[in-house]
């Protein structure tokens, strides 16, 4: 197991999906976890689950787009557990994805709300975590990016641009605060089938993901949680400024090459 004994972690967007699994994984590895989410009741449930299995966790309601709320969140971690070692900026506006279309149909309101929740939030998290981590002699920040940054997108314009921003912010924080022992990395998941989206993905789309994922199975929240735990741990002590892709190879192969190969291959007997 990864060992995070004695470390203090904040996970935003931790009431459900990948964030909830990650909060549990970090707690299982020994960290005390502030389970932060706009969904206070959900955060309480996750914190209770962690406490029920012998871990240390506290639920915290936060609007990640709000400066004062993010400052208060970091203060809550340091007040409750004496410091901050790990911040997983995971919260994102997945509820807005359905309204995030091609550029011509992208409204300013949708754009601004997406940037506030996906990108400003990460900036605020880093900004307030850095002084707390400096005080501990270092720390590890892990930002949630996405596989969408590998190339241009046909839709979800605002989402894709916000995640590209998260990656550059990651490198900027790594560059500016590495000398203080603060590492900052991002994780780029492919398609992860967690409860919030499992029933939203049409079967035809799922088959396409299965076809283009290079491994025998699709991604699960545990895959991301394990990658976060690795980057949070001393095992990744010299990894900073990186984007760790956890996508089963979804973006590795040349996609049109597979289509051409399929077009030229004999039909199955």
């Amino acid at each position: 197991m990864i060992n995070l004994d004695g470390k203090v972690a904040i996970v935003t967007g931790a009431a459900s999906g990948i964030g909830a699994v990650t909060a549990c994984t970090l707690a299982d590895a020994g960290a005390s976890v502030l389970v932060a989410d706009l969904d206070a009741a959900g955060a309480v449930r996750v914190a209770a689950k962690i406490a029920g299995s012998g871990g240390a966790a506290t639920a915290w309601e936060v609007d990640v787009s709000d400066d004062a709320a993010m400052e208060a969140m970091v203060a809550a971690a340091t007040d409750t557990y004496g410091g901050l070692d790990i911040l997983h900026n995971n919260a994102a506006a997945s509820q807005l994805a359905g309204q995030d279309h091609q550029l011509e149909d992208t409204t300013v309101d949708l754009w601004d709300r997406t940037m506030a929740i996906n990108l400003r939030s990460v900036m605020l998290g880093c900004k307030h975590a850095v002084p707390a981590m400096k005080a501990r002699g270092g720390g590890s920040i892990i930002n949630a990016s996405s596989g969408v940054t590998h190339g241009g997108q046909h839709r979800e314009t605002a989402y894709a641009v916000s995640k590209a921003g998260v990656e550059m912010l990651t490198k900027t924080v790594a560059t500016q605060y590495g000398r203080f022992g603060i590492r900052c990395n991002a994780i780029a998941p492919g398609v992860i089938f967690h409860d919030a989206i499992r029933n939203l993905v049409p079967p035809a789309d799922k088959r396409i993901f299965e076809e283009y994922t290079l491994l025998p199975r699709l991604g699960e929240p545990e895959d991301i949680a394990n990658a976060v735990a690795f980057l949070a741990s001393d095992l990744a002590g010299f990894i900073t400024g990186q984007v760790l892709t956890v996508d089963g190879g979804l973006h590795t192969a040349v996609a049109f090459d597979a289509a051409i190969t399929a077009a030229h291959s004999e039909p199955p007997a």
Binding site: K171, T175, P216, A236, G241, D247
Partner: protein, 261 residues
């Protein structure tokens, strides 16, 4: 519980530097390790140290540029430990007669180019060629190539080294694409500047200090930093990571150089 309990791993170039560190790390996390190196005595010595510390390891002499030698090493791993789950393609030509003669395209001796590619790149191809069928028998496995930030960032010298490392990155993506569906993952680890006993001899104090400035953390990279990254890629923690280049460079390649003034 170790992160690679019960797995069988082979590390090429395992007698020193990153390979020795990886062999020890994988063994301390529960793997049985075949320490492979051209330097048989060095490989044996690392294996002895692992066994003395309570781990399981055996050394084997391997010339990674020779297909028969690589085939024999993989067969030895399978015979000794019953199969193969992890291969760390780490061997590289670091002799002074190679790396110190690796200049630009105009000045490099063709023999230096060919030797570098034979060891660094063909060696990894051969490792994959003989390891993949064994991994398929086990239902999957994990291959990790030691690449370098020099695989995508150029220098004004060391053309053979850089090109070999670029090749190792694409080799990883190819194997990931070709065999991922059958459970064989393949990734690369890309170190920044690692000061090892071998590489130290090729670096001036001035150069090392300059590199320290370019790395964003308080210290330079150590072999154990790379070993920990290989451990992650070898373990089931990374079971959905495939075709990825994991860079371990303290943000060396993440930023523009800082110019005063």
């Amino acid at each position: 519980m170790g992160l690679v309990d019960g797995k069988v791993a082979m590390v090429t170039g395992g007698a020193s530097g990153i390979g020795a560190a990886t062999s020890k790390t994988l063994a301390s996390e529960g793997a049985s390790v075949v320490v492979s190196d051209l330097n048989a005595e060095g490989a044996e010595s690392v294996a002895r140290a692992i066994n003395a510390a309570g781990g399981t390891a055996v050394g084997v002499r391997t010339d990674v540029s020779d297909p028969a030698s690589v085939q024999a090493a993989v067969a030895f791993a399978v015979k000794t430990y019953g199969g193969l789950d992890v291969l760390h393609n780490n061997a590289a030509a670091f002799g002074a007669d190679v790396i110190m003669q690796d200049f630009n395209v105009v000045d490099i001796d063709l023999a230096v180019w060919e030797k570098t590619l034979a060891v660094n790149l063909t060696g990894a191809l051969l490792g994959c060629r003989f390891a993949v069928p064994e991994m398929l028998k086990r239902g999957g496995g994990s291959i990790i190539n030691t690449a370098s930030v020099a695989g995508w960032l150029a220098e004004d010298t060391r053309v053979a080294y850089s090109v070999s490392k670029a090749g190792l990155i694409n080799l990883a993506k190819h194997v990931a694409t070709a065999f991922g569906k059958q459970g064989v993952r393949c990734n690369a680890v890309a170190p920044g500047v690692v000061v090892t006993e071998t590489s130290k001899g090729h670096m001036s104090e001035e150069w090392i200090n300059g590199m320290k400035e370019l790395h964003s953390t308080p210290r330079l990279i150590e072999p154990s930093d790379i070993a920990d990254a290989v451990l992650f890629l070898a373990s089931d923690l990374s079971r959905q990571v495939n075709g990825h280049v994991l860079t371990v460079d303290a943000a060396l390649s993440a930023h523009l150089p800082k110019v005063e003034g």
